[in-house]
């Protein structure tokens, strides 16, 4: 029965969105992890989503989401002049991660709403199937 695919589809959506929430949490937690070496500093991570074609069901209609990979934002870290910082380099600069906290916050809200959407889909599908099971009683 194809209705069971809905659980796989919504489940894949939930796991993809939770990966996105994980990267957001990691980015926000490391927003102030400065380093004296611009190559060593933390870089903002973002997941790359991809639709699974023909992966879940036999027909092309069911396509869940897969996390294709996590890519790091290649933008240069921002340099701060903090000569008193023990991590500062010879010129007195420390390098802050290229994490945009405002962007991360909006990303977090978007991910959490999408997660809720998938939960609702799953709940509705479950209720529909239970109602179908009660058919004729």
């Amino acid at each position: 029965m194809s209705s069971f695919d809905i659980f796989n589809i919504a489940g894949s959506g939930m796991s993809a969105q939770s990966v996105r929430l994980n990267t957001t949490a990691s980015n926000l937690a490391n927003a102030d992890s400065v380093s004296g070496d611009p190559n060593q500093v933390y870089k903002a991570k973002h997941p790359l989503f991809e639709a699974i074609r023909n992966g879940l069901g036999k027909d092309a209609s069911s396509s869940g989401v897969a996390v294709k990979g996590i890519f790091e934002n290649p933008a240069a870290p921002s340099a701060r002049y903090e000569p008193g910082n023990p991590l500062a380099d010879a010129n007195g600069y420390v390098y802050a991660p290229n994490v945009n906290t405002v962007e991360e916050m909006t990303d977090m809200i978007s991910a959490s709403r999408s997660y809720q959407n998938n939960v609702e889909v799953m709940n509705t599908a479950k209720e529909m199937m239970l109602a179908t099971l009660r058919l004729g009683s």
Binding site: M1, S2, S3, D5, I6, I9, A10, S12, G13, A16, Q17, R20, L48, F49, E50, A51, G57, D59, A60, S61, S62, S63, G64, V65, S110, A111, S114, N117, N118, V121, T124, A125, M128, A131, T132, L135, G136
Partner: protein, 135 residues
């Protein structure tokens, strides 16, 4: 479509299957709301039901003699509806055409209609039970 019970259930049995297929499609659209390049899909329910119940308009088609030939799109009596791509109202830069609000509304509508079909089927079965028990 041979047995008397099948005839009694009428179009509702196919409608239920098509509704559950549409639920699956809309769930896939919602799950891929943030996937770059994903194109939202849906079925034309009226056309799909007409096709499933064998009432679709069948035009004149070329004969297909090779697996690579493109045949007629709709085959009467088939429960495999033709998938169509949604026309986006506001396409996004990443090529995703899922409008979450629109999909949610369609999902809610589809769920209610699924439950309506279930009610119809339920009353058909209740009628059958009354006929069988004679009470």
């Amino acid at each position: 479509m041979t047995s008397a019970i099948d005839k009694h259930l009428g179009v509702h049995a196919q409608a239920l299957t098509l509704r559950s297929q549409r639920t699956e499609l809309l769930a896939a659209n919602l799950a891929n709301a943030d996937t770059p390049g994903f194109r939202a899909r849906d079925i034309d329910f009226k056309a799909a039901l007409a096709q499933a119940s064998g009432n679709a308009q069948q035009g004149v088609h070329l004969q297909t003699t090779n697996a690579g030939h493109i045949g007629p799109k709709a085959v009467n009596g088939s429960l495999a509806p033709e998938l169509k791509y949604r026309t986006p109202l506001a396409p996004s830069l990443d090529g995703n055409t899922v409008d979450a609000q629109l999909e949610q509304a369609a999902f809610a509508e589809n769920t209610v209609r699924y439950q309506a079909t279930l009610q119809f089927l339920n009353s058909k079965f209740r009628g059958l039970m009354t006929a069988i028990t004679g009470q």
